[in-house]
Symmetry: C2
Subunit: 492 residues, 2 copies
């Protein structure tokens, strides 16, 4: 085991980067801003994918796959969307390399292979998908179309951080088409609810559901629904967004349908996505100075069994007990690793599984076997207890649920304690700098004020929460009348 992690208090950002690397989740690659997701990190992402995919299918969606590339003429068709992504997209201009005469053994771009029309590597797929939906939709009978895609996308970000902001990332993007505005709005809200449920039930991460302000909306959307989470350093993280796109893309790609009354109308649209960014959110919500803390529902290894022994005779005795426990736990659908590697000491293994966030550790030593018990340690609180061997399976099974619940409660308490109501810009600034977290404050509703606050403080409006209380007040910045408080925060 390498030296200890930097502590969160010392340098949160450094702690995060070290943790991602040391826990073998991901690392930077030879390509600027692109990451390698390592097997342990990918295993967590696979669990997220599996659960989300079930939830999408349970709400009537099907998966499909659309091209990686978007021809420039399609990319620019919906102007706001194009404008939003134009400055950060990878562009394919040629399709062939040839030998470089000046440098034997090296290759260069063959100028004769220049494409007539450039291809944009998708930063999001509305354009390519709506150019396809045009062919699929004639009548209201063809609607709704409820499609999701698991894919990689590229946004040429200048400042990147593992999982949180990378030039290429993995995500899912839902793209739906509807015959009425109402149905599309309900769909967009429904998927934001699905994201919130996933965050709470699987990631044990509480989120606030709300609407984005105009300036924070997805480029091309009429309304963006979102879920916002709070990290341990008091910064907010946008964990998922769901967009009501109105008829913008239908108009850009001329997608009309005949409604039940026989009249032509433009199709209504939504899109919604979550990405490998959720990995960053997961890490920063629960982990501590010893390493990763994973909620059992997403842990690739839920239980690790470590034998403590001297010599083969002891190991054999312990292994009989350990393997029996392993089999019984696995028969209950719990994933278990029995780590009987002989070239590492127990203490090393303890550190390793703490670093990797395995929720429950079972230690079996010779004395335990004599006493007919084992030691069980939980990763979240680091608490240990002795448990009779006969009770191990029930205890562990209950403990996993308890850990899952208690992680959510802990995160929820933290989040709730860090929503501060302020009524002056002075308080706003001091809370932001000293305490962090969400700040609930009156805002006059204008983009100008929002921008000025952002410039002065780096805080942005994270969302206007659902069912937000309407109350007359005064904008903390402009002093103009305000009808409601919104949530501000510095954000990832």
């Amino acid at each position: 085991m390498a030296e200890k992690l930097t502590s969160r208090n010392q340098d949160y950002s450094k702690w995060y980067n070290e943790l991602v690397i040391k826990a073998n989740l991901a690392e930077l690659s030879a390509v600027r801003g692109c990451m390698v997701i390592k097997p342990y990190g990918y295993a967590i992402w696979e669990k997220m994918q599996a659960e989300l995919d079930k939830m999408f299918k349970a709400t009537g969606h099907e998966n499909a796959y659309f091209p990686l590339f978007v021809p420039k003429s399609l990319f620019e068709a919906e102007e706001k969307n194009a404008e939003g992504f134009a400055k950060e997209c990878a562009i394919v201009t040629h399709y062939r390399l040839k030998n470089d005469e000046e440098k034997p053994g090296k290759l260069k771009v063959d100028p004769e292979s220049k494409l007539e029309e450039e291809l944009i590597v998708r930063p999001t797929s509305e354009a390519i998908i709506w150019s396809t939906y045009k062919k699929w939709i004639q009548s209201y009978r063809d609607l709704p179309i409820l499609i999701n895609q698991w894919a990689n996308v590229v946004r040429w970000e200048m400042r990147t951080r593992l999982f949180l902001r990378t030039a290429e990332f993995l995500w899912q993007e839902g793209h739906t088409a509807h015959s009425s505005k109402q149905e599309a709005v309900l769909e967009a809200k429904q998927m934001n609810d699905v994201y919130a449920d996933f965050a709470e039930k699987f990631m044990a991460m509480p989120v606030i559901k709300g609407l984005k302000s105009e300036s924070e909306r997805f480029a091309g959307a009429l309304e963006t629904y979102c879920i916002e989470a709070l990290m341990q350093d008091g910064k907010a993280l946008q964990a998922g967004t769901s967009h009501f796109l109105g008829q913008n893309f239908a108009k850009a790609f001329d997608v009309k349908f005949t409604n039940e009354k026989g009249k032509l109308d433009y199709v209504w649209a939504t899109s919604w996505g979550v990405s490998t960014r959720l990995m960053g959110a997961l890490i920063m919500t629960h982990s501590d100075d010893n390493g990763l803390v994973l909620p059992p529902n997403l842990a690739p290894i839920q239980v690790v069994i470590v034998p403590v022994y001297k010599g083969d005779v002891e190991l054999n005795k312990i292994s009989i007990v350990a393997i029996k426990i392993k089999n019984e736990l696995e028969s209950k659908g719990i994933s278990v690793k029995y780590d009987n590697r002989d070239n590492f000491k127990p203490g090393f293994k303890f550190n390793e599984y703490e670093l990797k966030g395995v929720p429950v550790r079972i230690v079996v030593g010779p004395k335990d076997i004599q006493g007919n018990s084992v030691e069980i340690a939980r990763r979240d609180t680091l608490a240990k207890s002795k448990v009779e061997i006969n009770n191990v399976v029930d205890t562990v099974s209950n403990l996993l649920s308890e850990i899952q619940d208690s992680l959510l409660i802990r995160a929820l308490n933290y989040r709730n304690k860090n929503i501060t109501i302020v009524d002056s810009f002075e308080d706003f600034q001091s809370v932001l700098n000293e305490k962090g977290g969400f700040i609930s404050a009156h805002w006059d509703g204008t983009t100008e004020t929002e921008e000025l606050i952002k410039k002065k403080t780096k805080a942005t409006i994270r969302c206007i929460p659902y069912n937000n209380e309407q109350e007359d007040g005064v904008c903390i910045y402009s002093g103009n009348p305000s009808k409601q408080r919104v949530l501000f925060a510095k954000a990832y």
Copy 2:
């Protein structure tokens, strides 16, 4: 339902294209050579992925994810590999668009965003992965590395066909690193066996396992193992390949390890992949002039229940029976669709599910309910039979296994009948043109002869089968001595 499919006899190629489109599997996109995989096609691919993924994990592999882009300097490091793909790769040269002053509302590539080093969209990932493995490998203790990746890749093919050859396709690529040649060779063979098992057990597609001749090897491999299938038109299809890469990539990227004796050595490598091309193989192995024929193990819908009725009263009575059957089948893990759509006639539905290849159809009408029976039709033979309602679940469950087995046997019989032994070039040509299929013929072992045969006949050496009988003979083309027969065919 649109007009009937072109028949296979009339025009096999046209039949294939029409079937892919009409069964809603895939279609061409707005991007040259790239396809849209539609939900029904993608559902089949998802089933393939799920089974393959289980098989990879059962043989000790983990999933990970590496970048989409390969910097040119890494791409060209392994020269043979680079040479093999240089002429068909999409190249990213810029990272930003800007407003086109001459065309308001349009965008153009910002020349100031030119990349210092071009990025190749991965046609395969050996280069980016081995540049990463270099960081992961120091000692024999770090080996083996057994990683698989599910990803999209791009090869700029000029002549494309849905699923069979597309500019972008989906695949998995395994990339493993080993401390000995023997271990790497065993790994490459093992994965070829996994592919063969998958093809036979799930796709009901018999394959011949063998080695590629030198000229047909993967660029950069020392040996390519493959599985070769035979399509209904007598053309072969390479369904999967597994490569023993020797130390080529380790040398290109300077990846050395300290072995158990403390000496430095280059790491041994394999890579192996199957792609959405398997969809084409699946379609062409079993389908007929009525449409798709899917093996039950990969069918998204295994059983469809169609009610035949007049009016709501009859439909309600039938629905009670149908839903009971559906629930019972589903409790056995069988996927069932009850199609009670009122705006389509039974005949239309029958055609639709035949076109979509649903293995078993259950028809329930008012007379059936009176007689306490239903009609069961199997898609592969189109045979129908009456079955007592109480026996439906057992009958269907057995029938699905029977269909799975019988599809494999049918395909195997066809394949075996179409391996022809020839001993002269004249016979070779006439068999190739009249009968097609695999031709087992003596070959002198030289690339020159292979090339000449290919030029004259378009037939290539598909493989040198495993455990090939060694017999002295005379090359059908050159007349030079030969030690074994190899399998030739025209191929997709």
